[in-house]
């Protein structure tokens, strides 16, 4: 049996080349072509899903390690908590909390440390975004 991502990609082609051109009413015609586009995206998401999740997990673990070295118990508690949450299964959500905590603790950290820590976090965000773009575009 065809893997789901390949099956969806085939159906996308069918919608684009067979079904869409056979519709004349504008609303269903637009929907048929848009369904083709959406199926390609869903297929790409399924194709890359496991590998991306794994890479994101690994990145977050490395990020947590690096940030633990770069912070101390004297740093804002929400920042420390967000770092600790990074390697957990809910770690992807912890990235957002981490960024929130960084901006909230900006004054306390001082501009230099804030910039250094943010720059390190952005490395991880960049890699994660590149993976999203692989599916999205």
């Amino acid at each position: 049996m065809l893997p789901a991502d390949e099956l969806l990609a085939r159906m996308s082609g069918l919608l684009r080349h067979e079904i869409g051109p056979a519709v004349s009413d504008p609303f269903p015609k637009t929907q048929a072509f848009m369904a083709s586009v959406v199926l390609d995206k869903v297929a790409a998401g399924l194709r890359h899903g496991a590998a991306h999740a794994q890479a994101n997990d690994a990145d977050r673990r490395t990020l947590a390690d690096d940030l633990r070295v770069a912070t101390t118990a004297a740093d804002p508690a929400p920042l420390r908590a967000a770092i600790d949450a990074l390697p957990t299964p809910q770690g992807d959500g912890a990235l957002a909390s981490l960024v929130t905590a960084l901006y909230a603790g900006r004054a306390e950290l001082g501009p230099e440390r804030f910039d250094t820590l943010l720059a390190r976090v952005r490395q991880t965000l960049r890699a994660r975004l590149d993976r999203q773009l692989e599916v999205a575009s």
Partner: protein, 349 residues
């Protein structure tokens, strides 16, 4: 949306009933009824009407916008406010349709609606091949580019207090305007996405915007989406500025940055596929007496990326929550990383 013809017909009847009563006539006849290609915004109907009243024959073109409740930006904008903006603009130098009626009562047409003047002109979409050719040809003829700039000048030099537009809210000088604008779009994001599911890049962009908001204190009437596609064009002139869904009192550079943005160049060197950038800057600065602040425009480019993300999140949520079945809305979920990438690159990562 299939089988729409029969409901379209009954909508035409209901519009005629309402308009007859509103105009105090019993013989109103509608012709040339046209429902404009369904966008993601409010429903728009165009038609002509003839009727007799006070012993005379009348004929007029109308445009009716109806809010079925599942349109984009539904939470930021409503027809009542659009109606009020048009009332304020009527009689000013800003070309805009005259508003006739606004009704809240869903008993009349099933949803709130406004009725306004049908202004002559056309409004090709700048994203399609035909639209691109339309604006390219107008650019070649050379009249519309200047009028396009002049119309923005008219907007930005309007005495908005005198026109009563301060009801839109006047920001505090300093970061008041920008923080209010960020909050407005952040609100749209919060309605579409649970806190725990926020994209960390978007959180970064929002944090950066708040932490780096420049100070602004020259306030004008800002359209909020001034570009081709939101303007009616007639004989190489802007016959009406449309789509008053995001107007505000704020920094003129907000509109200028939108014009300068690469988002609206459609692959050409021309702004909005229409105006040369240097010529726009020269003519705009001469007309308004304002100097264009490039740094502030750069900041607004990041804000527009955030705004686009908010827009796409809101759009895909409209589909996700089942309020609107149009798959084009579902597709926008994948536009979010694309605009976040634009923002991230401007932020240097």
């Amino acid at each position: 949306m299939s089988g729409e013809n029969s409901s379209d017909r009954s909508m035409t009847d209901r519009i005629a009933d309402y308009l007859g009563t509103a105009l105090g006539t019993t013989d109103l006849e509608m012709t040339g009824v046209e429902r404009i290609a369904v966008g993601w915004s409010h429903e728009t109907w165009l038609f002509d009407a003839t009727w007799s009243a006070q012993g005379a024959q009348h004929q007029r073109g109308f445009c009716l916008r109806r809010d079925p409740g599942n349109a984009l930006l539904r939470d930021l904008s409503n027809l009542r406010e659009q109606y009020r903006v048009l009332q304020c603009l009527h009689g000013t130098a800003v070309p805009s349709p005259e508003p006739y009626f606004y009704e809240d009562d869903p008993a009349i047409l099933g949803a709130p609606f406004l009725v306004m003047e049908k202004v002559p002109g056309e409004c090709p979409s700048p994203w399609g091949r035909e639209g691109r050719r339309f604006y390219q040809e107008a650019a070649d003829r050379g009249v519309l580019p200047g009028d396009f700039t002049d119309t923005l000048v008219k907007l930005h030099t309007l005495d908005w207090r005198g026109a009563g537009l301060d009801f839109l809210g006047v920001p505090e000088p300093g970061t008041g305007f920008i923080l209010r604008e960020i909050a407005k779009w952040r609100h749209l994001i919060d309605q579409a996405v649970a806190e725990a599911d926020l994209d960390p890049v978007l959180v970064d962009v929002l944090g950066w915007l708040e932490a780096n908001a420049p100070s602004t204190d020259r306030f004008v009437l800002v359209h909020g989406a001034y570009r081709t596609g939101n303007l009616l064009i007639h004989d190489d002139h802007v016959s009406a500025v449309l789509d008053w869904e995001t107007p505000c009192i704020g920094d003129p550079m907000y509109d200028v940055a939108y014009m300068l943005s690469e988002l609206n160049r459609e692959g050409t060197d021309l702004l909005s596929n229409l105006v040369e950038q240097d010529e726009f800057i020269r003519r705009y600065e001469a007309g308004t007496g304002l100097e264009i602040d490039v740094d502030v425009c750069d900041y607004y480019h990041v804000l527009y990326s955030m705004r686009s993300a908010a827009f796409w999140l809101s759009a895909s949520n409209l589909f996700a929550t089942g309020r609107n079945p149009d798959l084009r809305l579902a597709r926008t979920a994948w536009s979010v990383p694309v605009v976040l990438d634009q923002a991230a690159r401007r932020l240097g990562f």
